[in-house]
């Protein structure tokens, strides 16, 4: 091999090796479309407006046939109370199905804590539900392909295929999934998919008198919800888990997780 030939081949190898693998893959139009389909549902919670009435929970349980007396719910409202002596309390009695009708904090296991009226520093209510993440941990772990993310951004459970193993319930960082006591499958918020497809708002959005819960299509730039998410200061829950939640919160405190 001559010196010139050797150098030429060396350069060819270096150039060839420096081309990234990703540059050689063909662009799949289907994949590009998936990143930007027409509709992408997102939820917006304004924690400043919530008064903890629990009408959303009542409407959700009624609309979606979740038994009232079972301690499971697709959505719930949490109460946060900070005392002046720097203690923090969180509770959600019966998922706030009947609202917050007592000032004492439910500590669980039948224990309650009455907080002195003058000791209450700040207090607020935070509605919670499934975040319908862009990279949902729950659908990743399903061993039978029973739970999935739809193209318009909703995470659903296929009741005929779910075997009730509970992996998804454990995988969800937000505790948004539960075992349905009657259907005997994993269950979760569907964003009221049946209502959305009929052009109706989801039951909780519909029931909220204070407009603390709203829903919109974040791929439509003119949607009022998208406008708020783009222009105002909103946060998501447990961002560090990398699940890319699609429920956005106005007025999020760091204790709310």
């Amino acid at each position: 091999m001559e010196r010139r030939e050797f150098l030429q081949k060396c350069i060819m190898v270096i150039v060839g090796a420096s081309v990234p693998v990703s540059a050689l893959t063909l662009i799949d139009p289907k994949k590009v479309f998936a990143e930007n389909p027409q509709i992408q549902w997102a939820f917006l919670v304004d924690t400043n407006k919530c008064v903890g009435c629990g009408f959303c929970v009542k409407a959700c349980k009624t609309e979606n046939d979740i038994p009232f007396d079972a301690h499971v719910s697709r959505t719930w409202v949490e109460r946060y109370v900070y005392t002046k002596d720097d203690k923090r309390y969180v509770d959600s009695p019966d998922a706030a199905l009947y609202g917050f009708t007592e000032s004492r904090i439910d500590l669980g296991r039948g224990e309650y804590k009455e907080i002195d009226k003058d000791n209450v520093g700040k207090a607020f209510f935070v509605p919670k539900l499934c975040n319908h993440c862009s990279s949902p941990a729950c659908t990743q772990v399903c061993p039978v392909g029973a739970t999935y993310k739809t193209d318009d951004g909703v995470v659903l459970v296929d009741r005929t295929w779910c075997i009730g193993c509970g992996y998804c319930i454990m995988a969800c960082p937000y505790g948004a999934r539960f075992f349905h006591p009657i259907a005997k499958v994993a269950d979760k918020c569907t964003f009221c998919y049946h209502r959305l497809s009929k052009g109706l708002d989801s039951a909780c959005v519909n029931a909220c008198p204070f407009k603390a819960r709203r829903m919109g299509n974040i791929h439509d730039k003119n949607d009022p919800i998208t406008q708020i998410i783009m222009n105002e200061r909103v946060g998501v829950l447990k961002d560090e888990f990398g699940t890319k939640p699609q429920a956005f919160y106005i007025g999020l405190a760091q204790e709310v997780r």
Binding site: F55, G121, H194, A203
Partner: protein, 170 residues
């Protein structure tokens, strides 16, 4: 020596045939058992390996609550109950959707003919229990202590839920 060698060969091959037969049987079973519309969809195998027809099943679930938004709901209800909706929309409770107290009404007046109205004390207490949260929006709603405020009667016996101002008390 040769004969022994052949025997070694067959004892390797026989279980291998069993394994191959098992795999083939599994694939055949899978072919018939897994529905045709099972697929990954646009979001890929990791997040959306599912039965496509299940999306339609969810979409076809019957809804219970009626039209969306309190304005549209008031409009819908006032087609028949105009007077009471008018009273209500102008007063404080106008922000509450009718169905929150009157129950889901998508099929009403066909099914149910009469809505099961929740007149309970608990329903009012959802918002009107006095809680000492000055920083919350809750503070702006007039509240009572349910343990001391006329404990033995329902709220609606004195208060008019459609026109809750204290001047308009029964």
């Amino acid at each position: 020596m040769w004969q022994e060698g052949e025997r070694v060969k067959s004892h390797v091959w026989r279980p291998l045939y069993v394994v191959i037969a098992f795999v083939v049987a599994l694939l055949v079973f899978r072919f018939f058992y897994v529905p045709n519309d099972f697929g990954s969809g646009k979001r890929g195998f990791m997040y959306s390996y599912h039965r496509k027809s299940n999306e339609t099943e969810w979409k076809n679930q019957p809804a219970k609550y009626s039209v969306s938004g309190r304005e549209r709901m008031h409009e819908y209800c006032s087609e028949c109950h105009g007077e009471i909706v008018k009273v209500r929309s102008e007063k404080l409770h106008g922000i509450i959707p009718c169905e929150d107290c009157h129950g889901p009404a998508l099929q009403h007046p066909d099914k149910p003919e009469k809505l099961p109205i929740d007149r309970s004390r608990g329903l009012c207490l959802r918002c009107h229990t006095s809680l000492p949260y000055t920083t919350s929006e809750r503070h702006r709603i007039p509240g009572i202590d349910p343990k001391t405020h006329n404990t033995d009667i329902e709220c609606v016996e004195c208060h008019n839920p459609h026109n809750p101002s204290l001047e308009g008390m029964k």
